[in-house]
Symmetry: C2
Subunit: 200 residues, 2 copies
Amino acid sequence: MDQGPAFFDVVLRQRACRDFAPDPVPDEDLARILEAAVHAPSAENTQPWVFVVVRDADRRRRIADLNRRLWDGGAGLHSRPRLAADLFAEVDASVRTGFGGAPVLVVVAGDGRDPVTRRMLGASIFPAIQNLLLAANALGYGSALMTLATVASAELRSIVELPEGLEPVAVVPVGRPARRLGAPRREPAAAKTYLDRYEA
Amino acid sequence: MDQGPAFFDVVLRQRACRDFAPDPVPDEDLARILEAAVHAPSAENTQPWVFVVVRDADRRRRIADLNRRLWDGGAGLHSRPRLAADLFAEVDASVRTGFGGAPVLVVVAGDGRDPVTRRMLGASIFPAIQNLLLAANALGYGSALMTLATVASAELRSIVELPEGLEPVAVVPVGRPARRLGAPRREPAAAKTYLDRYEA
């Protein structure tokens, strides 16, 4: 099987996609993307991740409605002065079109029923999500790490029927990008790297 | 420049390395690894990561001592029944040899001085750490996501002179693996994946 493009071409070009084409995402591509996800490390190798792949239009609409309600109810106002104007407009548009019209939303949850696992849930779930984003990119899909809807944890759980204890940590839209994505905007690593000790 | 092995070959083979050869890790390789790290997404694109690359033998020893103290002081006893016997023995040995004798320890911190950024610190830092682990792997290095030493946050901060507010979230050893690493032990994604709704 084709093992995808060269690693650094994938990792240096991965960025958030906020506008999707309606093209379907075949099950076999999603399976490869999620297989990459579960190869991430987790505390004590507990692998506490759960993925609910939401294809159903009604459930996607309910998640998008929840996300928009949270955005309009304060998160948008809060983010406005913190984001560049063009980025804010892009995020705002994607909220209004239901995660940019993505044909698939992956609700990623973490199993926090064990208190120790729960304390380490971020360390154990976000590496898997990053693998998911990268693998989607490697297969030519767009994706994005969205956490806003998880603020309304109980409501999000109820939409995808997650029991208490399985905590949603992200909603990741997946689909073909509506247009070619630009390069990610990042400060160079050198600006964030110190040798042996931090210096202000 | 060589863009590395095929993406899926990297992502499906990445696993924790706990025993390192003493071979040096050149600055240019570390720079590539950290450039991959900073290409991860972060909440509001705040990029709140800080990397302290610890090469100095004395500081590495102090971090290793702290880690061993926490392990011997309870974490090891706690993990023993939770880990397979061979994995426990491997982790225990790596604690005693100072992160398996890795020539470089990267202390990864997150800038939590802004309360909103702080709340999202896990979502904003662990994707970068996963990129770091994968990029190390792509260049033939071993690495591991270790969080135990961050429990003693103030002490770890003091060793690498991080001010309050820059919160250590992981210590990542990097070096050539002492021996060929086996495949990661993971349950298949299908066991963790649901369509449209979770079903117990």
